[in-house]
């Protein structure tokens, strides 16, 4: 049985992969702020990646190259850091990334069922995406007394029941529509 969290081979991508590669003015501005306060460029690799990921959702190869060039580190150095951290996405993700917790406390409280329900609702497996969501289970979100939990769109959903799943997904979709 494959390991969910590492099996990031999405087979059902409907995300547009072609993104403009040069950094936008806003992105450059944010990176410049980071550069101005750093001890040396290599110190801000993680912050730089997270900063650009805020606007782009994920870090493509071209984006990585652009960031590397802008802050003055080699591509290999930046990717070495990017591929280490699990909140930096090097594959395309949808607008909302769902992080149902698959830690032990949530699993004790049938958290697996929630993840399964999400899969069924959206028709995707962990690591995959549909047009709105990417499913990336994460272990232990630090709210074990409210298990099972999920984080999505910066919201912590607590004590989730199977019945609530479709509502939650609808809620998240609506938020995206409002923001757009």
């Amino acid at each position: 049985m494959s390991n969910h969290n590492t099996d990031h081979a999405p087979t059902d991508l409907t995300i547009v992969v072609n993104q403009p590669s040069p950094l936008t003015a806003l992105e450059q501005q944010r990176l410049t702020v980071l550069l101005n306060h750093c001890v040396k460029p290599s110190a801000i690799t993680i912050d730089a990646l997270m900063s650009v990921q805020q606007t782009r959702g994920w870090i493509s190869d071209q984006t990585l190259q652009a960031i590397a060039e802008f802050i003055g580190v080699s591509e290999a150095d930046l990717d070495s850091v990017a591929t280490f951290y699990n909140l930096i996405f090097r594959l395309p993700v949808a607008n909302v990334v769902l992080h149902p917790c698959n830690g032990m406390a949530c699993h004790l409280m049938a958290g697996e069922d929630i993840e399964h329900q999400i899969s069924q609702c959206l028709g995707i497996q962990p690591g995959q995406s549909d047009e709105n969501f990417t499913l990336v289970p994460l272990p232990c979100l630090g709210a074990c007394d409210k298990a099972p939990v999920m984080i999505a769109d910066k919201i912590l959903f607590e004590r989730i029941t199977i019945a609530q799943v479709s509502n939650i997904l609808a809620q998240l979709t609506a938020r995206q529509a409002n923001d757009a």
């Binding site: 049985m1 390991n3 969290n5 590492t6 001890v39 290599s42 110190a43 801000i44 690799t45 993680i46 912050d47 990646l49 997270m50 070495s80 850091v81 280490f84 951290y85 699990n86 909140l87 930096i88 992080h99 698959n102 830690g103 032990m104 406390a105 699993h107 004790l108 409280m109 049938a110 697996e112 069922d113 399964h116 994460l138 272990p139 232990c140 979100l141 630090g142 709210a143 074990c144 007394d145 409210k146 298990a147 984080i151 910066k154 919201i155 912590l156």
Partner: protein, 438 residues
């Protein structure tokens, strides 16, 4: 400024700020309950006096290791010709399975953490502080940012704090995931923008840490103890323990209990009280089979250990660890192998990939546990699992991740051996799971 004579020493010093008001986390509320008075007390003392008080209090680190905090601080070199800047770091990268206590403090009492940090800075003559918080604690990040701004405006952070001549700057750093960032030296590497692999000790961070400079890393909860030690004194603090350890602790329970939650209780409160009284016992239809006293990297204990005080040494005597103090109960209807598999898989995924026993030993254990769980196990698999737990014992690995990972495994093999043997004998999992996803 001296003690506020109207403030009586509290029984629950850390959680008293959470008073039910909507914005309990703001500066005004914090100060109403006596916030920053401990720090002001510290400002009237010398660094070594502050350090001495913390040492005398007997405070032990709340991150899981339980190392005496004052002693840890004393390893930082002091004097005019020692390297600067000196750094203090708040380890707010809570990701231990079953742990949820730091989230509470970060979201609800950010100022308590800042005050603790300021006191520590005074004690060790530190110059710069970092709060290293996990990136998905969004609410906490928001509130910490607000709190830091409030402090800057109130001259509590920055140059010449409150006119005392003491300087200290604090930065908030959000991490990009990975459990290993909770390891202090890996955290330091992450702050430097690198991959979070740990560093060998010695040299200790106090001597060579962030950017090669003296650095101290402490847990969120540890810092939260400091304002009260300074404000209400050592003997009050020591009076709060019920056993050998002092002060209070945030204890929690998760799993199939009626009232999972978090409570501030004296150190040394027996497990039974926490589970049965505060968490109101097991849910109807469930029995307690075992529990992890302090997070996923502690050894299982059994119902026969329920009277053990939640105290570093006492839990140690029954061959487990106090760890984070957040208890996870294993009920009798959940397969122990499944639980252990979940944990070991977690740790094997969170391995940074630096040393052999963790990087290659843990996936090996996962493979064996998966085999057993799905009914393909053999008895020799148990022998291999035992070998792996000895292989990844403390001292054999580069850091404590793998030894922590094998704690639930080795204790499960000891206490739930029958379950392992049943899986193998019956070629299936005897615990009926309604939604099997294998």
């Amino acid at each position: 400024m001296m003690h506020n004579p109207d403030l009586t020493p509290p029984n629950k010093p850390m959680t008293r700020f959470v008073d039910g008001t909507k914005d309990c986390y703001v500066l005004e509320n914090y100060q109403r309950h006596g916030g920053y008075q401990g720090f002001q007390q510290a400002l009237t003392m010398t660094a070594s006096e502050v350090l001495g008080q913390v040492k005398d209090s007997g405070l032990r680190g709340r991150g899981g290791a339980g190392f005496p905090t004052g002693l840890k601080w004393s390893f930082m070199p002091q004097g005019d010709d020692t390297p600067t800047p000196k750094y203090l770091v708040v380890n707010a990268d809570e990701m231990e399975p079953g742990a949820f206590k730091d989230r509470y403090l970060l979201e609800k009492t950010p100022h308590q953490i800042i005050e603790g940090l300021l006191i520590a800075a005074k004690a060790v003559n530190a110059d710069i502080g970092y709060i290293f918080i996990r990136g998905d604690y969004y609410l906490a990040i928001e509130r910490l940012n607000i709190a830091l701004e409030e402090c800057r405006s109130a001259q509590l952070i920055g140059q010449n704090i409150l006119g005392s001549g003491f300087n200290f700057e604090i930065h908030l750093h959000t991490s990009a995931g990975r459990y290993i960032c909770g390891e202090e030296t890996a955290l330091i590497n992450s702050l430097e923008g690198k991959r979070a692999t740990p560093r060998a000790k010695p040299p200790f961070p106090q001597v060579s840490g962030l950017w090669g400079k003296p650095t101290i890393v402490n847990n969120v909860e540890t810092y939260c103890n400091l304002p009260h030690i300074l404000l209400f004194g050592v003997s009050w603090y020591q009076s709060l323990g019920r056993h050998k350890d002092f002060g209070t602790k945030l204890f929690g329970v998760s799993g199939r209990v009626k009232n999972p939650g978090l409570w501030e209780l004296p150190m040394g409160t027996p497990v039974r009280e926490i589970i049965n009284d505060y968490a109101q016992g097991m849910c109807d239809g469930y029995q307690l089979k075992g529990f992890l006293p302090g997070g996923g990297s502690t050894d299982f204990l059994l119902p026969e250990h329920l009277d053990t005080p939640m105290d570093y040494d006492e839990i140690g005597k029954v061959r487990s660890r106090l760890g984070t103090g957040t208890i996870t109960v294993l009920d009798d209807q959940y397969c122990p192998i499944k639980l252990v598999l979940n944990l070991v898989k977690f740790f094997s995924q969170e391995s940074c990939g630096w040393c052999t026993p963790c990087r290659d030993g843990l996936p090996w254990a996962v493979s064996l546990l998966e085999k057993i769980e799905r009914g393909d196990g053999q008895s020799t698999d148990i022998d291999q699992l035992i070998d792996i737990t000895q292989f990844a014992a403390p001292g054999n690995t580069f850091c404590a991740l793998a030894p922590g990972a094998v704690e639930p495994l080795q204790s499960a093999l000891k206490f739930f051996r029958k379950d392992f043997e049943q899986h193998i004998a019956h070629k299936s999992c005897p615990y009926q799971q309604e939604h099997s996803h294998d």
